[in-house]
Symmetry: C2
Subunit: 277 residues, 2 copies
């Protein structure tokens, strides 16, 4: 394998390595998106731990020194902003052309974005969603990981009706995967259900949080295969991610729910998250 | 959607857009790898046309002006090198955080690498291959496209025995997809077979070339589902890509072939490619 002799972007020669590399060429890396709110990075340690575990699935090392460097760089990069969406990425270092990874080391990226501002009613009254026409492929080797191969999500949003706040993804076998940028939960007769995600999908941190919180509140949570019919027949449905916490879903296609349902409201109330009040 | 407020890489702030964007974050783009040999870029027009068609599958526009710019930049970037591997990439422009594509325009990337030097025996006596333990996911929406989501290939090579020249990929349903960086053909009773690639895999330019060349030589070519058993029972097996042309496969696991077989030899002889002599 050899490094690039030269790299041009839009007609201008660039310094090799500053543009390309295995992130751009292969998506060979992992990421997490963190909420910074009121000057505090929410769930920082847990997010770094999840980043490390996802990296390990790809054979990328993220040791204590790397995590400490990422944390320090995140705080410095986002230092000027009390509220922000902070994206951490680990991208396998480039050792030249070719798929075989020449290293288990990674470059650290920190991108700081303005925190998206959503209407308060997204939390109080819920959002609308549509089932995506795109079916997600089943790939157990990459299932659950927040990796940088996200073309399916791009294509799902590209095909989505513009008026909905979220798309619901099914896999090629018809099982519910989750929201396009969220995990999906539904409540039936007081029991919480969420897809197991052993074939595809992403295990967000908020999903872990609810897996711990629900039993502590005496709410049973079952991780299992869900069909679209299971979701449509549920008493309550909600989506989660680290930036938003929980949004009730009030409409999916033609199905409508009164929001927020009682279980959803309990979880929101007890969730240690800025948006949970 | 908003652009990044700041972007850090390995502890240093970088100019926004020069490092990240939708290529790194999502793999939202397409590429081709071209052979430049003896000062000539092989199959330039056909490669640009395939790039355009793949881009269109993702909703990325690559019009005549864009193709002309790419060609001009490729010739300038690779101008100093008589022999090179030239990678062209179109990456959807970044309009800020979030999966929905805000544009159908793309940034042009040209990366020039030293042409890999392989032993002459790779062409004359063939190469060894192993069946990958990784099974490729079935995703018809992305099937056939040379897109920038290539983690499956990375993981396949990562798991491959180091002594083989190529890995053979099966999909999650057990069908043969091809080589990790090549298309696969096999010959049985004089008839050529290659996977149809409607569920996954990449349609390389050399595959198109053989689809035109084989009938012209009176060799029937069937694009269809192939099992591993079909390949193992074949009289001849070979792999193709634009950099190498055709390499006979002389060993796959424990199966050995006498190389090159007569049909392979005929195709190599008539192929308009620098390596075909």
């Amino acid at each position: 394998v050899s490094a690039a002799l030269t790299w041009w972007c839009n007609g201008r020669a660039t310094a090799d390595g500053s543009v390309g590399g295995r992130g751009l060429q292969y998506g060979d890396g992992v990421f997490r998106t963190l909420l910074k709110f009121g000057g505090v990075v929410v769930d920082e340690a847990a997010q770094l731990q999840k980043l490390q575990r996802d990296a390990a699935r790809l054979g990328i090392v993220c040791d204590a020194a790397q995590r400490a460097a990422l944390a320090a760089e995140m705080h410095e990069a986002a230092g000027a902003h009390r509220d922000a969406a902070v994206k951490l990425m680990l991208v396998r270092v480039d050792k030249g052309r070719g798929y075989p990874p020449g290293s288990d080391a990674a470059d650290r990226h920190v991108a700081v974005y303005p925190l998206p501002r959503y209407p308060a009613t997204h939390w109080s009254q819920g959002v609308t969603a549509a089932v995506s026409t795109l079916r997600v492929a089943r790939q157990p080797v990459l299932a659950g990981i927040k990796h940088l191969n996200r073309l399916e999500q791009v294509m799902a949003y590209r095909a989505a009706p513009p008026e909905v706040e979220e798309v619901v993804l099914l896999d090629t076998g018809g099982a519910v995967v989750g929201g396009g940028r969220s995990n999906l939960f539904c409540v039936r007769e007081g029991v919480l259900h969420t897809p197991e995600l052993s074939n595809c999908g992403v295990r967000g941190l908020m999903r872990d949080t609810l897996q711990a919180l629900a039993p502590a509140l005496g709410i049973e949570l079952r991780c299992r295969d869900l069909s679209l019919q299971d979701v449509e027949e549920a008493d309550e449905v909600f989506m989660t991610n680290s930036l938003i916490g929980i949004w009730p879903i009030r409409m999916l296609g033609t199905r409508r729910w009164a929001t927020p349902g009682p279980v959803t409201a309990r979880l929101v109330q007890r969730l240690a998250h800025p948006w949970s009040g």
